[in-house]
């Protein structure tokens, strides 16, 4: 291989409450990873984690972005939103914990498994959040 490292960068918008478009950003991310020939196992992990993070913006926040960075060694997904923020991150990470309203639970969301899924799919996950400002989640996925 030559010494130029192929890298790519994409940014997609996500709107809070827009269930009809929810998942489109993650779907774009997945298609890009398929086009660059990323391996199936890492695509699955990124797709699941990215979808959960995108859904959290749709369900819990007002507006946000999904940012994809990828090079030969790793894939980084950052999901950044303007919204209520997460007051107690440790509590939010507890499997089954959810503040989702009933209308969203009826759709099969709000099982409180999103953050735990994201954690188990990624190699590293960092959450930064400020109350009434927003939340930024950064996930790193390493090629096996």
């Amino acid at each position: 291989m030559n010494d130029t490292v192929a890298s790519l960068h994409f940014k997609f918008e996500v709107n809070g409450g827009d269930f009809a478009k929810a998942g489109d950003a993650s779907s774009r991310v997945k298609k890009i990873l398929q086009q660059i020939g990323a391996d199936q196992a890492i695509i699955r992990r990124v797709a699941i984690a990215c979808y959960e993070a995108e859904m959290n913006v749709v369900i819990h926040a007002r507006h946000g972005f999904v940012v994809l960075d990828a090079d030969l060694e790793k894939i980084i997904i950052v999901v950044d939103d303007e919204g209520p923020g997460i007051e107690d991150i440790e509590l939010a990470m507890t499997p089954g914990y959810s503040t989702a309203p009933d209308s969203v639970r009826e759709m099969g969301f709000g099982a409180g498994m999103g953050l735990p899924n994201m954690k188990s799919c990624s190699n590293e996950m960092e959450i930064h959040s400020r109350r009434d400002v927003g939340t930024t989640i950064r996930m790193v996925f390493e090629n096996a």
């Binding site: 269930f19 998942g23 993650s26 779907s27 797709a47 859904m55 759709m107 409180g112 899924n117």
Partner: protein, 112 residues
């Protein structure tokens, strides 16, 4: 097992069937989307009582072989449109979710 065999065996009503010549490698039944995302295998057929557009998004993320809406529930209009756009096989049936899962199991499919 081919999707065509499953559709025929369970007498499923195709809403979108770009091709039934698709290999189905496992099955899953759940109404919780995070549960499906975490546990359903790529290539699974997924039976559910959910009918909204996001079930197609989940199927796309996991490369599912298809989605069955059980219990005589009609999909939302935009669910059907999205299934067509994304080429996701979508079926409906009057059979209950319990019986659909049982029949898939009887055909030899497992969730793992």
């Amino acid at each position: 097992m081919l999707l065509a065999n499953i559709a025929q065996n369970l007498n499923l009503n195709p809403i979108n069937e770009p091709s039934a010549d698709v290999e189905v490698t496992s099955g899953y039944a759940s109404d919780l989307l995070s549960d499906v995302l975490a546990k359903a295998k790529n290539g699974a057929i997924w039976a559910t009582n959910q009918k909204h557009i996001n079930i197609i998004g989940v199927a796309v993320m996991l490369n599912l072989a298809g989605v069955i809406i059980a219990g005589g529930i009609e999909p939302d209009e935009n669910t059907v449109a999205k299934a067509r756009e994304e080429n996701i096989p979508l079926y409906i049936t009057e059979t209950s979710l319990f019986d659909v899962a049982g029949k898939l199991y009887e055909l030899g499919l497992r969730s793992t």
